[in-house]
């Protein structure tokens, strides 16, 4: 680019020299530098200057800024929270080594299978490793004072090694361990042992058996099931009656359809050698355990995904309402700046530049609103992590801000800037060129905006009300027995 400019100036020199230098010469380097800087820094410099100017202008209207911040903060905060929640529930990866090569295997159409079936599958050599987990059990923990149930998971002894689960202290359960060992979750360790690393080697009383603690899981451990389900204790299987869900590590380069066919073959052999009431070969499936692949393969996950898309849409509507709110505020302010803009246009400012300057107003508000919104979202995430849902599942949601949220927030900010600023800016420019003609048009515009806000608010409120009603009536569903005369509840 530099060379182009230099060439252009050189040409000019030649022509000038040919006409006896009737036009004075200048310094090529300086001129080219000027042009180069123009190209490189113009945009950033103007942006920074515009933002400073916008900040100065907004300082004079603190009420506007406050309203805009609250509106945009809530709008963007709601969106950020929904997005993080959705990403965590749908796309979070379990804390294992190479989640992409792990698969969840179902045979005989059941979610959990008998130990004999698992051993058969493991010995068939189809997979690199086969492990099992039952995450819906509970054990009675006696802490020396009283006994209460804790959420536990029963696993095969090769579970930790096969999945490559990272540990905080100690190690996972090993194949040559006795049955009386346990691995603790971080939360349980903090509660019972106050985070003391010497807990390793101590014994705890589970179901009347003294189990040695061999390992502690890290704080941000995520289980295989997802949805934030995290048991307090991991125990090796010691009863033949415990059914386990099968997780297998695919051999390198084995695609899922090939694995499914392989399992089908093994299942037919199982039916031949271990005949039973139901056939192992009915309802064979192999599915991914994490990420988008899991969403596609499990129908239930797809439904959850669609649900979150809906939630995000509603959150987007809330943001829209906030933006329209701010837009009408800015519109009112724009009419007060009519004279200033008219003068600028007369002096020779290009309309593009003027539009940029007017958008800087809404950009500043959107940036501040996004900042506030992200703070709110983080606070909500921390709160959510503390909540214990009144259901018999050990759910602990870990929502951490990551690059995906950053990108989404940037998109939201851009959207907010345009939604809030474009209309007032365009109106300002139009008005300045023909002042006085549009006074009535302005009132109509503001009425339209208010009307739009009311309409969208009604939609969002109605949707919210319907969801709430469903929630209430589903929790009042009769479970089939008389709850009033039951005296034991979880």
């Amino acid at each position: 680019m530099h060379q182009e400019m230099a060439a252009e100036l050189a040409f000019h020199r030649e022509m000038a020299a040919g006409h006896h230098g009737s036009i004075p010469l200048g310094n090529t380097a300086v001129i080219a530098e000027h042009g180069y800087d123009l190209w490189r820094f113009t945009f950033l410099e103007n942006l920074w200057r515009d933002l400073l100017y916008a900040a100065r202008g907004l300082r004079r209207s603190p009420l506007l800024v406050l309203t805009a911040l609250v509106s945009l903060g809530l709008g963007i905060g709601v969106n950020a929270t929904m997005f993080s929640l959705g990403v965590e529930i749908l796309f979070s990866e379990p804390s294992v080594h190479d989640a992409a090569s792990l698969a969840y295997v179902r045979i005989g159409g059941s979610s959990h299978s008998a130990p004999a079936a698992i051993d058969f599958l493991a010995s068939s050599g189809l997979f690199a490793d086969v492990a099992g987990e039952n995450e819906e059990t509970s054990s009675n923990f006696n802490d020396g004072v009283e006994t209460h149930p804790v959420y536990s998971a029963i696993v095969t002894k090769n579970y930790f090694a096969a999945l490559g689960v990272p540990m905080l202290h100690g190690r996972g359960i090993a194949p040559d361990d006795p049955n009386e060992v346990a691995v603790l979750s971080y939360a349980f360790w903090r509660k019972q042992f106050a985070g003391d690393p010497s807990a390793i080697g101590r014994t705890i009383n589970l179901d009347g058996r003294m189990c040695t603690v061999v390992g502690i899981l890290p704080e941000h451990h995520r289980g295989l099931i997802g949805f934030g389900i995290s048991p307090d204790i991991f125990l090796p299987r010691y009863l033949d009656s415990t059914l386990l869900a099968i997780y297998a590590r695919l051999k390198p380069g084995m695609p899922v359809p090939a694995a499914t066919a392989g399992v089908m073959t093994v299942a037919r052999r199982m039916d031949a050698q271990m005949p039973g009431r139901f056939k192992y070969a009915d309802g064979v499936s192999v599915s991914a355990i994490a990420g988008y692949a899991r969403l596609k393969s499990e129908r239930e996950m797809m439904a959850v995904g669609v649900f979150f898309v809906l939630l995000l849409a509603v959150a987007g509507l809330v943001l829209l309402i906030a933006c329209v709110n701010v837009a009408s505020l800015l519109l009112a302010r724009a009419s007060a700046r009519r004279r200033e803009i008219a003068i600028r246009l007369a002096i020779g400012a290009s309309r593009g530049r003027l539009l940029q300057q007017l958008l800087a107003d809404s950009l500043l508000l959107a940036l501040l609103g996004a900042g506030l919104g992200l703070v709110l979202a983080q606070a909500t995430a921390v709160l959510l992590a503390r909540i214990h849902l009144p259901i018999p599942l050990p759910i602990r949601l870990q929502i951490a801000p990551d690059w995906r949220l950053a990108i989404y927030a940037a998109v939201l900010t851009t959207f907010a800037t345009l939604a809030c600023g474009l209309l007032p800016a365009w109106q300002s420019l139009k008005e300045s060129l023909a002042p006085g003609l549009h006074r009535e048009g302005k009132m109509r515009m503001r009425r339209i905006l208010v009307g739009a806000q009311i309409a969208v608010s009604v939609i969002v409120l109605t949707t919210g009300f319907l969801f709430l009603r469903n929630l209430v009536s589903s929790s009042a569903l009769s479970p089939g027995f008389d709850v009033r005369h039951t005296f034991w509840r979880m």
């Binding site: 252009e8 040409f11 004075p24």
Partner: protein
């Protein structure tokens, strides 16, 4: 970089002169400067230092566009031509200039 007796031009006015010159047809930078010089009865001498930054800025703004071409003496040169946006801009700026100069005259007369 100016010589004493030359009148100073407002930035917006130079843009106006450049665009007006380009309305006569596509030309390279030197030709634009010559056109302005001659049309103003040799009063206005546009220096490279102001001409080319103005041209590059107008190009960035989209008011003019550039193409490579051959000059009268078969040298390679960058030829500018006015765009539709530029045409609109000229009309606006001519109106602005008329208002401005009328206003200045009024002040001086009063």
């Amino acid at each position: 970089m100016g010589k004493a007796a030359q009148p100073a031009l407002l930035q917006g006015t130079l843009d106006l002169l450049i665009l007006h010159a380009l309305q006569r047809g596509a030309m390279h930078g030197y030709a634009i400067a010559q056109t302005i010089h001659l049309l103003s009865d040799e009063v206005l001498k546009v220096e490279e230092g102001s001409l080319y930054p103005a041209l590059w800025r107008l190009e960035l703004d989209g008011a003019i566009a550039a193409k490579s071409g051959l000059s009268e003496n078969n040298r390679k040169a960058k030829f500018y031509h006015i765009t539709k946006r530029g045409e609109k801009l000229v009309a606006e700026q001519e109106a602005t200039w008329a208002r401005l100069s009328a206003a200045v005259s009024r002040v001086l007369a009063g």
